[in-house]
């Protein structure tokens, strides 16, 4: 179905089901309970999950398949945001034209930047993309202020033309043919409350499309070519293939993904600032992809969700909450435990993230996905040992011979 193998189809359906029921799944704790702060099921955060999921999926098409490590992908995110906000200002508050423009603009920039940067590989490529992104960031901050509104960031105002929309009272909101992005229906079931927001489902639908496309790319002959670039570019060139069109195509596609993510960020909240292009933002998408598992289908989405959850939930834990948790301990021990954990929570969540990232790179180069499959393998092996000790022994004998 959909031109996918059965295994990929299962993954796609699983992702679809999870995103569909995310507002419920991410709110496992009743409102008002002590653990309610671990609920991630509010629209703002869920939108970020899927939007950065798209960003990471796109980055993975470049890094995961070709091995080219770009340190400047946030530039495309920023370009997407700026173009979307301009569309809101000039044409209409409908999100469709805005997102289309942001994809196209990001694609064009990616074409130019990729054309230049891909002349070099390895660390030089990383530095070139970093240089381009920092240039865009610096320009957006200073000279391009008429276009980007400098430090304040680009916002919609009442006096914008908005040709298609006509007059409106008050600041208009982004919408999809009348369905406002910020519309939220809250469902109360017993002690639980679940928010279903239009914006989230719009982003989720686009993420599913993006995910589907990336699965198709991974399984296509084009994807095979990209993998060939990663495993041995020299040999590929010797067989008479020019690798540059393939890498450029991958770069542009991943740039368009980033543009889409940027456009969606603006569609959920119509403002765009230069800090979206800073190299720390580029570093973040690298973290997401590696943490989840570069080169795997589901990894980047996992990584994006993981980091965004961390950023929003972990950073909210404070000492008071810790004292609550460890209240069962004797006082001295409780204070000691809280003091030990203190640097890693709240404002210190970056520290935890950094340590975790290092551990993943050192011990699990395949990211969380590899971790999961390793755990899975251990369990499967144990099952097999219990069930077919003999056939296993036979296989080993065969392997030995």
């Amino acid at each position: 179905m959909l031109g996918l193998e059965r295994r990929d189809l299962t993954i796609l359906i699983a992702v679809a089901v999870i995103t569909l029921f995310a507002p419920i799944i991410l709110n496992p704790f009743p409102t008002g309970s002590a653990l309610a702060q671990f609920n991630a099921g509010y629209p703002d955060l869920m939108q970020r999950f899927v939007i950065f999921g798209i960003f990471a999926i796109g980055f993975n098409i470049l890094f995961g398949l070709t091995g080219y490590l770009s340190f400047g992908h946030a530039a495309f995110l920023g370009i997407g945001s700026y173009s979307a906000v301009w569309m809101f200002k000039l044409l209409s508050m409908n999100v469709i034209p805005a997102i289309l423009l942001s994809i196209v603009m990001a694609g064009l920039f990616a074409l130019v930047i990729g054309f230049v940067s891909l002349r070099r590989s390895g660390i030089y490529f990383s530095i070139l993309t970093l240089a381009f992104a920092q240039m865009s960031y610096n320009l957006a901050y200073s000279v391009l202020t008429p276009v980007t509104n400098g430090e304040t960031g680009l916002q919609i105002t009442l006096s914008d033309p908005r040709i298609l929309d006509g007059e409106s009272s008050g600041l208009p909101v982004t919408s999809l043919f009348g369905a406002e992005m910020r519309d939220t229906t809250t469902l109360f079931v017993g002690p639980w409350s679940w928010d279903f927001s239009v914006g989230y489902y719009f982003c989720a639908a686009l993420m599913l499309v993006a995910f589907y496309i990336s699965v198709r790319i991974f399984r296509s002959p084009f994807g095979m070519m990209l993998r060939a670039v990663k495993s041995n570019q020299q040999r590929m060139n010797y067989t008479g293939l020019n690798s540059r069109p393939y890498t450029l195509a991958a770069f542009v596609i991943s740039g368009m993904y980033a543009g889409l993510a940027g456009g969606l960020l603006a569609a959920m909240d119509p403002l765009a600032g230069a800090d979206r292009m800073q190299w720390t933002a580029s570093g973040e998408v690298v973290l997401m992809t590696i943490l989840g598992g570069a080169g795997t289908l589901i990894g980047p989405v996992l990584g994006a969700g993981f980091i965004k959850y961390f950023e929003n939930i972990f950073s909210k834990i404070n000492d008071g909450i810790l004292h609550q948790w460890f209240a069962f301990m004797p006082d001295g021990l409780e204070n000691f435990v809280v003091a030990v954990i203190h640097p890693f929570i709240g404002k210190g969540w970056h520290l935890t993230l950094g340590i975790m990232f290092m551990l993943v790179v050192i011990f699990l180069p395949g990211g969380l996905v590899e971790g999961a499959s390793r755990v899975g393998r251990v369990f499967r092996r144990r099952d097999r040992k219990a069930d077919h000790v003999e056939s296993d022994a036979a296989r080993q004998r065969a392997a030995a011979e």
Partner: protein
């Protein structure tokens, strides 16, 4: 003419910092073949050595002086640093005043230790891994180091003044026959420039004129052969990593009066230093120094008003622009050696 001289001088201090950091980066790259994204963090740790020493020296004991009163009429509380109590106000005051240069003595052992621990504990395991992995793990390490410093010192910049003797500016223009006040240059920046010069000269002399340096240079050229000759090259390279850490740390210590240290200063310098290394040529020490000064001076020229009105925004992008042009026209950088990092 004097305007051009001013810009060259202005470029020198930034250029010195770039050159020192890039020197360490390229030293690590040339010897160990590791791309160290945590090098900016080493620069930052150096700067915080100065902050730490300053804080230690100004640790004070509070005494009550019954003879004087504060503005509320209560007896005045006087804070005297312990140092002044021990050595007398004269000598003690001078020691506190000279905290930044003294921090060099603290920074050298600290940076050596940090360098050794980093190399033996982490980097060692990444020699055989791809460059992307090295970048990623050192990037993670940089985040961790940065956050640790932030935890202990807070997020705000901490002012660390230069010694009194070096405050104020020097009127260089008079020496060269210009009008007074035509070319004015702060003393400390001059000190920084000479300091950078001394460090760079020392590193080069060490590599050029000692047996140890000769072995290291041989190892940089052909590691395998040196190993086959029965020389434990790994141990020497570890020492070079420590040396590179010291260079970065000292660059940080002396930079504190120019820029109040904050926890993300390392990252800010790192990006530019990488560009400097690439422009100079990966693994080339003279290239790193040359490119550092060149880019520093170019940047200060680009921020002249005349240039800015001609090409708006050029001061923001000049370094990156130069890097892009150089990478595309001279892939090996200005002075890159053949066969280093070529795919």
């Amino acid at each position: 003419m004097d305007a051009i001289l001013i810009q060259i001088l202005n470029g020198l201090d930034k250029g010195s910092a770039y050159a020192l950091i890039a020197l360490g980066l390229t030293l690590i790259f040339g010897t160990l073949g590791v791309v160290n994204f945590a090098h900016g963090a080493l620069f930052m740790i150096g700067a915080f050595c100065a902050v730490t020493l300053q804080k230690l020296l100004t640790l004070s004991v509070t005494t009550i002086d019954p003879e004087r009163t504060d503005f509320l009429g209560n007896p005045l509380k006087v804070q005297t640093p312990y140092v002044e109590n021990w050595f007398g106000p004269e000598v003690g005051g001078t020691i506190v005043d000279w905290a930044v240069p003294l921090a060099i003595l603290l920074a050298i052992p600290v940076m050596l230790l940090v360098g050794f621990v980093m190399e033996r504990g982490l980097i060692k395991h990444f020699y055989k891994r791809p460059h992307a992995d090295q970048i990623l793990v050192t990037f993670g390490l940089a985040i961790v180091l940065q956050e640790i410093v932030k935890y202990f010192y807070g997020a705000n910049p901490i002012p660390t003044p230069a010694p009194d003797a070096f405050r104020g500016s020097l009127d260089i223009g008079v020496w060269l026959g210009f009008d007074p006040y035509a070319i004015i240059y702060p003393y400390w920046r001059l000190v920084y420039f000479f300091f950078a010069g001394v460090i760079i000269a020392a590193v080069f002399a060490f590599l050029q004129f000692t047996t140890f340096g000769m072995v290291v240079r041989a190892g940089m050229a052909d590691r395998e052969t040196v190993g086959l000759l029965g020389i434990d090259i790994d141990r020497r390279f570890t020492l070079m990593f420590g040396l590179a850490a010291v260079v970065a740390g000292l660059a940080g210590v002396m930079y504190t009066p120019i820029l109040s240290p904050n926890y993300h200063m390392g990252m800010d310098f790192l990006v530019l230093s990488f560009v400097v290394v690439v422009v100079g040529g990966m693994g080339s020490l003279p290239g790193a120094v040359l490119a550092g000064f060149l880019l520093g001076i170019l940047q200060s020229f680009a921020s002249m008003n005349e240039v800015k009105s001609l090409l708006p925004g050029i001061d923001q992008i000049i370094i990156y622009l130069v890097a892009i042009v150089i990478l595309l026209t001279r892939p090996r950088g200005l002075m890159g050696r053949r066969g280093v990092m070529e795919e």
